[in-house]
């Protein structure tokens, strides 16, 4: 238990080891630890941000879905309305057309009747003239006369 040069030797060794540790060993370890700390912090922040974004996206999707539903029902009701309109239009057009056809048919019938009447008139007068002619020609033949009359009568 003598105090001797070992004291100084150990002091020197201590100084050398501490210096070596400070210059060579410590800085890389600390740098790596700090870097890892930063990485972890960044990662956590990133995760937080991602979560927030997801939430936002979900909200956006919900809103879009609601909008789409609204639009679909709008389109549906519009289509319904348009269909009704088309049916109504078609109905009125059909009725008009029917009326027009009916009227045309009435006019045709009347025209036909008038023409028949005209024809009849001309024929009656012709028959009357022919009858008179025959009567005048064969006054003496009573029988013949009778025949003509009969014939006339049948002709009417």
């Amino acid at each position: 238990m003598n105090i001797n040069l070992t004291l100084i030797g150990q002091s020197i060794a201590f100084a050398v080891f501490v210096t070596f540790c400070m210059k060579v060993v410590w800085p890389p370890i600390m740098a790596a630890l700090d870097e890892r700390k930063k990485k972890i912090a960044d990662g956590l922040a990133e995760a937080e941000r991602g979560l927030k974004q997801q939430e936002l996206a979900e909200q956006g999707a919900e809103k879009k879905l609601a909008e789409a539903k609204q639009q679909a029902s709008d389109i549906l009701s519009q289509a319904q309305k348009r269909a009704n309109e088309i049916v109504e239009d078609a109905k009125s057009v059909a009725v008009e057309e029917g009326n027009r056809i009916k009227e045309a048919a009435h006019a045709e019938v009347e025209k036909e009747v008038n023409r028949a009447k005209e024809q009849l008139r001309t024929q009656v007068s012709t028959i009357a003239v022919a009858g008179a002619e025959r009567i005048l020609k064969k006054e003496i033949n009573a029988d013949a006369h009778q025949d003509i009359l009969d014939d006339l009568a049948t002709q009417i």
């Binding site: 238990m1 003598n2 105090i3 001797n4 040069l5 070992t6 004291l7 100084i8 030797g9 150990q10 002091s11 060794a13 201590f14 100084a15 080891f17 501490v18 070596f20 540790c21 400070m22 060579v24 060993v25 410590w26 800085p27 890389p28 370890i29 600390m30 740098a31 790596a32 630890l33 870097e35 890892r36 990485k39």
Partner: protein
């Protein structure tokens, strides 16, 4: 193992360092007995203490250097994980106790903690293994009487080692104390408190003692704990020469003391580190 030597000779043998120094007659050489080692005075060096101290310090730096070279900020490997665990622990302590900014403190705390721990750890190696081996080698290779081969393997049971570190730390305390506070501030702290400037002699005495007591207590605490611990191991080892019953008791005692001693060696390394940090923090602070 004690052989033909007596118990006190056995203990004495275990407490003597392998010393190289200047003999009283002027020539340099190894001491062949405790007597000769004492007669060498200051001009001698404990070869075993220095050897183990430097070997363990280099081992520490080698392992940590290897880890720090392959350091990655990604997933750490086994060694890196272990090193990071220790570095983090030390760094936490430095940050907790040391308020100023100084890049020297944390690496120094790490060095002290691991190095002192490794030196203390040698205490757990059964006390006869390595000295006995050294005796055999000394006898076979150098032809020396094995009883004159001294080989202490726990550097921290050598007061030179603990005082060597404590004085280096004391020098740093003085250096930073004067650097941060200025020579006037440093002297003022010693002279003008706690009794004001009229009590200067008393102040100087009190503060001077408190200043000197820091490195002394730092060194003696570590030395005392480890020396006492080793002494108990040596006493337990003596039981082995007392027959099978005493030997069995000694085995259990050694096991029990070794388990308890794990706590002590770790605690003493930790205390040495923490006190170093605290003392240097005090040197960095301007109190008044």
């Amino acid at each position: 193992m004690a052989g033909e030597i007596t118990s006190s000779e056995y203990i004495q043998h275990h407490l003597t360092n392998w010393t190289y120094g200047k003999h009283p007659d002027g020539h340099w050489g190894f001491a062949h007995s405790a007597q000769e080692a004492t007669e060498m005075g200051f001009w001698a060096i404990h070869v075993d203490s220095m050897l183990w101290s430097i070997f363990l310090g280099s081992l520490f730096l080698l392992i940590f250097r290897k880890a720090s070279k392959n350091m990655t900020s990604g997933v750490p490997s086994g060694l890196q994980n272990f090193v990071e665990w220790i570095v983090d622990f030390v760094n936490e302590n430095v940050r907790g106790s040391f308020s100023a900014k100084n890049d020297l403190i944390a690496p120094m705390a790490l060095t002290i903690f691991v190095w002192v721990f490794l030196m203390n750890l040698m205490d757990l190696v059964p006390v006869d293994w390595i000295p006995h081996l050294a005796g055999i080698i000394g006898h076979a290779v150098f032809g020396v009487d094995p009883h004159h081969v001294y080989f202490k393997i726990v550097p921290t049971t050598d007061p030179n080692i603990t005082f060597g570190m404590a004085f280096a730390i004391f020098a740093l305390m003085l250096y930073y104390g004067i650097k941060i506070k200025g020579p006037g501030g440093f002297f003022g702290e010693l002279a003008f408190q706690p009794f004001g400037k009229w009590g200067m002699p008393a102040n100087l005495l009190l503060e001077g003692i408190s200043l000197i007591s820091k490195p002394v207590s730092l060194a003696l605490r570590l030395f005392g704990n480890l020396y006492a611990g080793e002494m108990i191991f040596i006493l337990i080892a003596l039981l082995y020469s007392g027959g099978i019953v005493w030997g069995t008791i000694g085995g259990f005692l050694q096991l029990g003391w070794a388990i308890f001693h794990i706590l002590i060696i770790l605690l003493q390394a930790f205390i040495f580190m923490v006190l170093t940090i605290v003392y240097l923090d005090m040197a960095h602070q301007e109190h008044h």
